[in-house]
């Protein structure tokens, strides 16, 4: 049994990588910022739940909570499954488990394929545990608020972990089967792709629609997502019952079954998959989507060469993800308009005391975070960045075009959300206002993403842990900026906390010691956005009133107020965008590790 030896080697390698990364000030700074972001989120949630919700009517919270858990959570979990299957099947996800030294050294060594594969899987499993621990630390206030006992907390943790693992194992099984079934015929790859994409989208729509589900109820009840949701509902209600335990055992058995499946699939297909990990990059050029000619993009718009190039490359390389993301957004919209769901939704958002108006921006930001276009805008260049850096284009032009690329893709991906909003809100002016607010959030999310990308791109390339960290930082920064208004109106303690952060950032910036340089640089560039948001307090207050007002059915905006709000929002957008793009330009100029 060499499994233990392989696993030990993997863990030693990971630990060494972590220790080495601590020597890089930039990576160290990223870890620190990540820690601060966790603190901000946790404190924000704590204040939100204890300061605000306690003042509200508890019954409304309960209605909302059950509505979210029973109606929205299944959608989120199923969408997560579908997106993950696409991610693992159509990207080089599995190839990332192995690196060149594995392929050159271990593949030649007399090692059982399953042992090597299992050692990689266990390493990934441990990473998932770590991520989940961080997640639970972040959402700790919610768990405290729900008065969870330690036993229920542990069950909650294990259920979520099992669910995540099941998603990955299902995705990897599909990857193995798909790769093997298409290995003998290069053209079948395209056909299988389209077929499987079609089947998944079709099944997904079926799963979303309860009318279809009743006929296959038994299967439906044993779906991992259904079991997980049932467990969650029992746990949140603090109900430890036989049914809960049966569901828990079911989930665990599904997990074991999948492990067994992967084990046998790996024994049979290992050689093919492993041999093709290196070649997988070249294989993808067989896709039909590669036939889109560049000249169609580049010669139509004269001034946006870089944006056009990036959009084309994004569509070529992420076509399947692009379509799945659009489908999932679109299916959300469809399900919302199912009669019962729609009525509940309307009832919830039109309730004056509802919390819904407060969580709308958060939901939108989380939806936005599902794609990583802006945060990868510079990282996607990676070693090709020399092409841009050696060109005679001013850096501010490069930055603007990169920003426009992320913004365009995100605006397209969120078209279904605008359609949904148009359907949900009553008056034309209110509809326009809401769309302006959404665009503002998308814009802020992108501008922060571009900034983080320019600052982190070199370290993202070197260290695979950091995309998660960067993504989280982007999420927190966007929430901070977009919803500062909400915090300022309703949450006094966070007001003080924000001032603390600003003061700390400003104070740190005064110490220009070499060792602290990168920490200061990254921290101050990210948190300077908060300062600007704080300074534009009056504008933010106005834009927050907009969200609150237009979601209330009895509120009708008059024309002059609408114009005033739109001007206020546009001013806020302009200030934040300008500051962020300037910081991005500085980060791009200073970041010599890109080369």
């Amino acid at each position: 049994m060499q499994l233990l030896f392989l696993l030990k080697t993997e863990l030693i390698r990971e630990y060494s990588k972590f220790r080495l990364s601590l020597k890089d000030n930039k990576i160290l700074a990223s870890y620190l910022i990540f820690g601060v972001s966790i603190l901000i989120t946790s404190t924000g949630l704590y204040t939100f739940l204890y300061r605000l919700i306690n003042l509200d009517n508890k019954i409304i919270l309960n209605n909302n909570a059950s509505f979210i858990i029973q109606e929205i959570l299944p959608l989120i979990l199923r969408s997560w499954i579908v997106l993950n299957i696409f991610k693992v099947t159509y990207t080089s996800y599995l190839a990332r488990w192995f690196d060149s030294s594995d392929i050159d050294l271990l593949y030649c060594a007399p090692i059982q394929p399953n042992e090597l594969f299992l050692s990689k899987y266990i390493k990934t499993f441990l990473k998932h545990v770590l991520i989940l621990v961080i997640f639970f630390i972040t959402i700790n206030p919610i768990l405290l608020y729900l008065n969870m006992s330690s036993n229920i907390f542990i069950l909650f943790f294990i259920t979520l972990l099992l669910f995540i693992e099941i998603i990955y194992l299902i995705s990897i099984s599909i990857f193995f089967i798909l790769k093997n079934s298409t290995s003998n015929n290069k053209f079948s790859f395209k056909k299988y792709d389209i077929l499987i994409l079609g089947i998944f989208i079709f099944s997904y729509f079926l799963l979303l629609n309860n009318n279809y589900i009743t006929s296959i109820e038994y299967i439906y009840m044993n779906f991992p997502s259904t079991i997980t949701i049932n467990i969650f509902i029992s746990l949140i209600k603090n109900l430890v019952s036989v049914k809960l335990m049966i569901n828990f055992i079911k989930l665990f058995l599904i997990y074991l079954l999948l492990i067994f499946l992967i084990y046998s699939l790996n024994s049979n297909y290992y050689e093919y998959v492993f041999n093709n990990l290196k070649k997988s990059e070249k294989k993808r050029y067989n896709y039909f989507i590669y036939n889109i000619p560049f000249s169609v993009f580049i010669y139509k718009i004269n001034y946006l060469t870089l944006t056009m190039k990036d959009i084309l490359i994004y569509i070529r390389e992420n076509f399947i993800e692009f379509i799945s993301y659009l489908s999932i957004n679109y299916s959300f919209m469809l399900i919302i308009f199912q009669r019962n769901f729609y009525n509940n939704f309307k009832l919830t958002i039109h309730n004056n005391n509802s919390l819904f108006f407060l969580i709308v921006p958060f939901i939108l930001i989380i939806v936005l975070t599902m794609n990583t276009v802006s945060i990868e805008s510079f990282n996607s260049e990676s070693k090709k960045i020399w092409i841009l850096k050696s060109s005679n284009n001013p850096y501010n032009k490069i930055i603007k075009e990169k920003f426009l690329y992320g913004l365009t893709i995100n605006l397209i991906l969120n078209i279904p959300i605008y359609l949904l909003i148009i359907q949900l809100i009553n008056t034309i002016l209110n509809k326009i206002m809401m769309i302006v607010v959404i665009i503002e959030i998308i814009l802020i999310h992108n501008v922060i993403g571009t900034l983080i990308s320019a600052t982190h791109s070199s370290i993202l390339e070197k260290n695979k842990k950091l995309p998660l960290i960067s993504n989280f930082t982007q999420l927190v920064a966007t929430i901070m900026v977009s919803s500062t208004s909400l915090f300022l109106i309703n949450l006094k303690p966070i007001y003080l906390y924000l001032i603390d952060i600003i003061l700390i950032s400003v104070l740190i910036t005064k110490y220009d010691k070499p060792l602290l340089y990168y920490f200061i640089n990254i921290t101050s560039t990210i948190y300077v956005i908060s300062i600007i948001a704080f300074l534009s307090l009056s504008l933010i207050l106005l834009s927050s009133l907009v969200i609150r007002s237009i979601l209330l059915s009895n509120y009708y905006l008059d024309f002059s107020s609408a114009i005033a709000y739109i001007v206020a929002i546009l001013l806020k957008m302009a200030i934040i965008t300008r500051v962020c793009l300037k910081s991005t330009e500085d980060a791009f100029r200073e970041n010599e590790n890109l080369i």
Partner: protein
């Protein structure tokens, strides 16, 4: 004497580590100049500074008559940089990549087309223009990159180990193209440790070691300094680098 490159006490450091130390480099217009040194000598860092990709920590660099710190945008228009182990956009076809470079540097479309046609023929990449760059071999990618530089016809070529991935035929074609460019007044700075190639192609040389210039001049001048008229470039390089190692 018109200088295409002139650096004065050029320094580059990363944290406390000094990579380039007071480098004074002079390359005349129309020269094919070799920058020679062992691995880690600072050749690539020098080229990165001269191409405006990274900024010097101190000192100055005047390239094609422009200060690389203050006028780098204007200078970059006249510089063609070929990195060691270049990475290109794998998801673009060869012809799309040429279109992109043409637009990036504002080369008129017709002029760009005629240059691409000329250099594609010379570099034998006509048959691969519709292929995706990611599906090409390293040598083919190198030829594509060289062609993309030639379509701009810059005044100064900064080439970092340009022969590394090329087959003998490709290497010979590139040598001929570079000789032709130098004859027409362009300047070439070649960073390499392939000393035979440098000796055959270049007319002036600078040897650097651990970020410092050891010696520079024509082959004859270097031979005189060694004291042996028949010394090869390899012998000259070993002579100076060993002397530095001993001293």
């Amino acid at each position: 004497m018109i200088l295409a490159i002139e650096t004065n006490k050029l320094c580059k450091s990363y944290g406390n580590y000094l990579v380039i130390k007071n480098l004074n480099l002079r390359v005349e217009k129309g020269d094919i100049h070799a920058l020679i040194g062992s691995n880690g000598a600072g050749k690539t860092t020098t080229l990165l500074m001269l191409s405006g990709i990274i900024k010097p920590t101190s000192g100055s660099a005047i390239v094609v008559g422009r200060d690389m710190v203050r006028q780098s945008i204007e200078a970059k228009r006249e510089i063609g940089y070929v990195p060691e182990n270049p990475s290109l956009y794998e998801s673009l076809t060869v012809s799309e990549f040429f279109e992109f470079v043409g637009k990036l540097y504002s080369v008129p479309r017709d002029l760009g087309k005629s240059r691409i046609e000329k250099y594609s023929n010379l570099l034998d990449i006509n048959s691969i223009t519709r292929k995706f760059i990611g599906s090409l071999s390293k040598g083919e990618q190198q030829r594509v990159l060289i062609c993309s530089i030639m379509l701009r016809e810059p005044q100064l070529y900064l080439l970092d180990e340009p022969f590394f991935a090329l087959d003998p035929r490709g290497a010979r074609t590139l040598r001929e193209i570079l000789e032709e460019k130098a004859a027409s007044g362009s300047t070439i700075l070649l960073a390499t440790h392939q000393l035979e190639v440098a000796e055959r192609l270049c007319n002036t040389f600078t040897i650097i070691e651990k970020g410092r210039k050891l010696v520079d001049g024509t082959l004859r001048e270097l031979q005189e300094r060694v004291g042996r008229a028949s010394s090869s470039l390899e012998e000259i390089y070993l002579h100076f680098s060993e002397r530095r190692g001993n001293g």
